[in-house]
Amino acid sequence: MTGYQILWFVLIAVLFSGFFFLEGFDFGIGMSLKTLAKNEEEEDALIRSIGPHWDGNEVWLITAGGAMFAAMPFWYASLFSGFYLILFAILIGLIYRGVSFEFREQMKTAKYRNLWTAISSVTSMLVPFLFGVLFTDVVQGMPLNANGDMSANFWDYFNIFSIVGGVAMSLLSYVHGLNYARLKITDGSLHNRIQKQLRVLYPVLLVGEVAFAVTLFAFTDFFTEKPLITVIMLAAIVVLTLVAWTVTLKRQNTWAFIALGLVIILVVALLFTGLFPRVIVGNESGMSLLLKNATSTPYTLKWMTIISLTALPIVLAYQIWSFYVFRDRVRVEKISY
């Protein structure tokens, strides 16, 4: 394995972490339109809190996909064709969610506005769930042939582990979204309801994390292959969640947001660490797709490295700047468009 190959494995993990961290709270906000908001003004305020950002946040996924295609075409080809229907459902979810904010705003009657709010909410829950399923499948072992083509049946995609993974991802995104909303919206009623929900959700989240650890133990080789790092990372995930819970009760909103954001990044890091040096785990020994066989040529990787390391800091700079200029709070109020 070369340095470039390892670098790109890490970079793709970074891009997916960026996606789940940023789009994670967008998904959470999306879900909360139906589970938290009580009227249209509150829905509007929640959407406005992510309005200028969600589209840019989603580009992290597109870039992760593009980076995978460019740096690891064999991974990209096997993963995307192997998870055909799951990715198709994700695409449909992202399409309806993507237009829902714009369409909702344009609808004239409350009935249709509600319909698009509901679409937004359901798809925001569905997409992280399906990503959770996909990533747990990738680490637990799928039927691959020598060419890297996957021929899986329904029960290969959906089992206890992948369901736990999916639910965990949706739940994490939801709590992350509430933390974000609490930072942006400080108005009384909505703000208090967020706090109320969070008090209940943190214990649930911890139970989910334990379930995830147990199924991870049962369905993957993480504990046998890399016991130390796996246990350390799982412990860090639980500790950070406890920290987030504690500071939430003390109403230290920023710290809660950061702590849970780190949990999301750690979950992605854990999955990628356990995956290494494979990129898709096969269900028979010897049939895994390996990183060393999945990448582009050193020449392409060199070019991609130069371009990415030049462009990414600039992208980060203006994305952070855009969060900075829209840093002020969002009020719940009647807005005419």
Binding site: T63, F69, S81, Y84, I95, W303
Partner: protein, 490 residues
């Protein structure tokens, strides 16, 4: 399920590619074109300090935003589709094609999405010049996006900068800058950009025309100015389209002669070094025998168009078919079919060319109607307004025709001369999965398309005055009647 078994994976995957890209490519040129027009309008506002231009920016910006949203969400399909439906293609050329896509996301998508967010939410937050910079950066981002995706497409049309690694049976990149120096790219990219001028400007002119038909004499100044800006953009675009289209045709005779023969309906060789070649205006080819059944010709014209001289010949597809077999049979076997769907290409080309002529004519008419000294009451010319209204749709027909020529004319290859379509498709995706996704995509696109048309129509009916009430930047005397009215409305 016999029905499913009867449909080949290849045809279903090809249908999906055609459907998703054609739909996506209604909104891409519209977004780029409207982006440019809105950028020009806001520039005029900043320079001339005329509030009418600000209203224009905001009003047309609404349709721009709608189109952008649908363009973005249908674009994600494109990136995923290569891996999902064309996994063998992704493995074979991922080393070359992947980088172009990744760079597109990295330099273009982040730029457009972030600055569009700043632009659309930042009207009251930034000074005029900074706000203007945001829309130009968004437009620049979408132009970058077009550049890189067309670099990828140009590689498929005219592969450069690569070698075939026989050991691992894949094509590998050996010269990255060559992807951007590909002459095909510099034929395609400007042509596509000029085509986006048409999409943007004819939508602005068409919506203006419909608005004046709905409410004659209402907001005439607003629509007149909008039409002026877009007619100038359209005129520049038409000249650009004609020039780049002509250069493209010339290059095609060497790069993909079969495509050229199909677009001009040439079955047997015509003309020669000392001989004129006639140009076929309208003809019909028997798809079974590939024989031109009848044709209306203009003498000398093909030599003039194809060689820019009075003599000069072109090869017909029968001859070309033999040549391609000689050239490629060693590599791809004797069973390849090199004939193209000739009638489709032939008529697509004619639709595109006639549309271009119509664009030029309409742009001149629009400028004449809206010229400064004109005392013409546009609202009275209903027939003209109807023509411009209907012309809203014409750029999309022309653009789709252009892509049909480009992509169908590449057959039987996915990468010209390198990889066949049959060798590119995913082997492990079932026909049932593909059929399901095709049906659901089709349903989704129908919903999105209808809502888009409905919402655009609604923006039109609400009229330019709809952007006035959100205008908080303007200082309004709190005791004036106007402020009272605004307050009541809000």
């Amino acid at each position: 399920m016999n029905l499913v078994a009867g449909l080949s994976i290849l045809n279903l995957a090809r249908f999906q590619f055609a459907m998703t890209t054609i739909f996506h490519f209604f909104f891409v040129p519209l977004s780029i074109g409207l982006g440019i027009i809105v950028s020009v309008m806001e520039t005029l506002y900043v320079i001339k300090k005329d509030d009418q231009y600000k209203r224009m920016t905001k009003f047309w910006g609404k349709i721009f935003m709608l189109s952008f949203a649908v363009g973005v969400v249908t674009g994600i399909i494109q990136e995923f589709q290569f891996g999902m439906n064309w996994s063998r293609y992704s493995r074979y050329v991922g080393d070359i094609f992947g980088p172009a896509l990744a760079v597109e996301a990295l330099v273009a998508f982040f730029l457009e999405s972030t600055f569009l967010g700043l632009w659309s939410f930042g009207w009251d937050r930034f000074n005029k010049k900074l706000h203007l910079l945001f829309i130009w950066l968004t437009t620049l981002g979408s132009a970058f996006s077009a550049l890189w995706i067309l670099a990828a497409n140009s590689f498929m049309q005219n592969p450069v900068g690569f070698e075939v690694d026989h050991k691992f049976d894949r094509a590998v990149l050996v010269d990255f800058p060559a992807l951007l120096q590909n002459h095909q790219l510099w034929l395609e990219f400007p042509h596509v950009i000029f085509a986006t001028f048409m999409a943007g400007s004819f939508v602005v002119m068409g919506v203006s025309a419909f608005s004046l038909l709905r409410k004659p004499h209402h907001e005439v100044n607003f629509f007149k100015k909008s039409v002026q800006v877009s007619a100038v953009v359209a005129l520049v675009g038409v000249v650009g389209l004609a020039y780049t289209g002509d250069s493209h045709s010339l290059a095609l005779q060497d790069d993909q002669p079969m495509k050229f023969a199909a677009t001009e309906g040439i079955d047997k060789n015509v003309g020669g070094d000392d001989e004129q070649a006639p140009w076929s205006v309208i003809s019909y080819t028997d798809p079974k025998t590939n024989e031109v059944k009848w044709s209306l010709d203009i003498p000398y014209m093909l030599s003039i168009l194809g060689d820019h001289s009075l003599t000069g010949g072109s090869q017909g597809w029968n001859e070309l078919n033999k040549e391609l077999h000689e050239k490629y049979d060693v590599k791809f076997g004797h069973d390849m079919n090199y004939y193209l769907p000739n009638n489709t290409l032939y008529y697509s080309f004619r639709i595109m060319a006639v549309s271009a002529g119509a664009f030029g004519l309409l742009a001149v008419v629009a400028l004449w109607f809206t010229r400064k000294k004109s005392k013409i009451d546009i609202s009275k010319y209903k027939w003209a307004l109807w023509i411009f209204g209907i012309a809203t749709y014409l750029p999309f027909v022309a653009i789709t025709s252009g892509w049909l020529i480009t992509e169908l004319g590449r057959a039987p290859w996915v990468v010209y001369g390198v990889l066949t379509m049959a060798d590119a498709v995913s082997p492990n995706v079932s026909a049932a999965s593909l059929l399901t996704s095709n049906i659901l995509y089709f349903a989704t696109f129908t919903v999105l398309g209808l809502i888009m048309v409905m919402l655009s129509r609604r923006v039109m009916i609400a009229g330019p005055e709809s952007v006035d009430e959100t205008d908080t930047e303007e200082d309004v005397d709190p005791f004036s009647p106007k402020a009272f009215e605004n307050g009541k409305e809000a």
